[in-house]
């Protein structure tokens, strides 16, 4: 059975706050936890300056921490957000009081609830719990230099303990765990000077590194190889054209460190023709893109734009890009190519530019 959030142990109930005083005790009250729909009858309601305590302990004023056989349901006054009274159906007397609190809604049932209501409202207005907090703050300001030094020492001690727990067993223990990495780095160290080694190159490229070659040209050639590999992966997904920005993003995402600049990727791309790769750099409206040499505008149109554009319904570049899952920039390049081929017509309006299948050319 789920326990009420207001339920407290005797020990917790006995812990009174600073300056808390009992104001009144009312008998034969009922407590209702609305969330659990749990009604507990025959309780004493103790109204203090800080809390409402519902209990069946008859000696609440001499409450001991080991009085565990009794029930204690506590509602701190500072957590009460609203208090509402409900009268009976045919009378004007208060039937029950509803409390909306941070922990949930509860109700107080009983006879002659006017008195408790006044006491509760009075306590809530006085806000005795706030006075306690201010005094405590005042005390902390004037604690003195010694207490500040103690506080610093405590913090330092905590930091030392944290670090020590991380390096339990010392650095040797750490190195034991990194034995595999140690072996790889030893292998690379021994073999890297021997010249070309495809295995080492592969290991280095997987961790985002490439060997520092002797000349700049060789560096760009190596980089071109890596960029081309990435382009070959991306061309089928992106429809044969990838913007320089996208290549820059995906390439560096793989590397994670020692990032390559867009200028370097562009220079690498300019090596493609020389290296007889099936990709090239093109510029459309000032935007550099990597384009597959096998990119066929007609086929690409049929497989991409052609599926969504029609004579009757015009779509914007943004709508088309969303449908195709490509960037708007690349979509506009494809649309420009399709317009140049006479496949697509443009409808320029104040609302925006839409693209339709070309009806006019077929007349």
């Amino acid at each position: 059975m789920q326990q009420s959030l207001f339920f407290l142990s005797a020990e917790m109930t006995a812990m009174t706050q600073f300056n808390e005083k009992t104001l009144f005790i009312y008998q034969n009250m009922q407590f209702l936890d609305k969330k659990l729909k749990m009604k507990v009858p025959k309780l004493n309601l103790v109204i203090t300056t800080h809390r409402l305590i519902f209990t069946n302990n008859p000696n609440i004023e001499q409450l001991k921490t080991n009085d565990a056989q009794f029930v204690y349901l506590v509602v701190p006054l500072q957590h009460i957000k609203t208090v509402q009274t409900k009268t009976g159906f045919l009378s004007s007397q208060i039937d029950h009081i509803n409390f909306e609190t941070n922990l949930g809604d509860v109700s107080l049932y009983g006879d002659n609830l006017e008195g408790p209501l006044l006491q509760i409202k009075g306590s809530m207005e006085k806000k005795e719990w706030l006075k306690v907090q201010e005094q405590q703050q005042t005390q902390s300001v004037y604690r003195g230099l010694k207490s500040e030094l103690d506080k610093k020492e405590k913090q330092t001690q905590q930091t030392i303990e944290t670090v020590q727990s991380t390096f339990k067993g010392g650095f040797e223990e750490l190195f034991k765990n990194a034995s595999e990495l140690k072996e790889i780095s030893q292998y690379i160290k021994q073999n890297i000077k021997k010249g070309e080694n495809n295995e080492i190159d592969e290991i280095l490229s997987k961790i985002g590194q490439s060997r520092l070659d002797k000349t700049e040209d060789q560096f760009y050639e190596k980089l071109a190889e890596q960029v081309y590999k990435l382009c070959v992966e991306l061309f089928p997904k992106m429809g044969g054209i990838i913007s320089l920005l996208d290549v820059y993003y995906y390439f560096n995402k793989k590397r994670n460190q020692n990032l390559v600049s867009p200028e370097e990727i562009l220079k690498a791309g300019l090596q493609f023709q020389k290296l007889n790769y099936q990709a090239k750099i093109e510029r459309y409206d000032g935007i550099s893109v990597f384009e597959s040499t096998q990119y066929n505008i007609d086929k690409d149109y049929e497989n991409t734009l052609g599926k969504f554009i029609s004579y009757e319904v015009g779509l914007t570049a943004e709508q088309l890009a969303k449908k195709l899952g490509i960037s708007v920039m690349i979509c506009k390049i494809k649309l420009r190519n399709a317009i140049n081929q006479g496949k697509v017509c443009v409808d320029n309006r104040i609302e925006g530019t839409r693209y339709f299948q070309n009806l006019i050319i077929n007349i």
């Binding site: 317009i339 017509c345 104040i350 339709f356 009806l359």
Partner: protein, 181 residues
């Protein structure tokens, strides 16, 4: 007749096609677009019997406006001028100045043929006739293509007849007459 019906359907289809109201960049498409606009405008002039107008008046012509979406899309003055320039090349209109132009509802060659056929019908070959007599005389009627047309257009047609050896054109004091041969 079937051709005319097909043309009408095509024009209606194009006028409902939103990109038709934006002159396209693609050369071939633009050429066809201008040609179709020329035909549509020429038919509009014919149906409304417009003989003279200007670009500013053309801006408010309903055929140049598309109301398919919320905000009306119109062809602007430069686009209309491009269409009218094409029509001028085909002889459908003649520019009077930068803004104004006259409309040839019928081409001069068609008019020339129509005048000669009428002259033959009315046995006027060998006789002299004034330009006014051709357009408004008792021997002509509303069924004729040249009925009530401006005299400049009739004169052009007569000059074509003269070129083809079918008439002689005389001018006296600014007034013209022709002798049909």
């Amino acid at each position: 007749m079937q051709d005319a019906q097909d043309k009408l359907e095509l024009h209606q289809k194009l006028l409902k096609y939103p990109p038709f109201y934006t002159l396209q960049d693609h050369k071939e498409t633009r050429k066809k677009q201008i040609t179709q606009w020329s035909e549509i405008v020429h038919l509009y002039f014919q149906s409304h019997k417009i003989l003279e107008t200007s670009i500013s008046e053309m801006l408010n012509v309903p055929i140049f406006q598309d109301q398919s979406s919320g905000i009306i899309k119109k062809l602007d003055a430069s686009e209309i001028r491009e269409i009218l320039n094409q029509m001028a090349q085909l002889g459908s209109i003649e520019w009077k100045n930068d803004q104004n132009f006259s409309v040839n509802l019928v081409s001069p060659f068609e008019l020339a043929d129509a005048i000669y056929a009428w002259a033959k019908e009315k046995k006027l070959i060998g006789y002299t006739e004034t330009l006014k007599g051709i357009t408004e005389g008792s021997q002509t009627d509303q069924t004729k293509k040249f009925y009530n047309l401006p005299q400049e257009q009739i004169l052009k047609a007569c000059l074509i007849l003269e070129e083809t050896g079918r008439c002689q054109v005389y001018e006296f004091d600014g007034l013209y007459s022709i002798k049909l041969i």
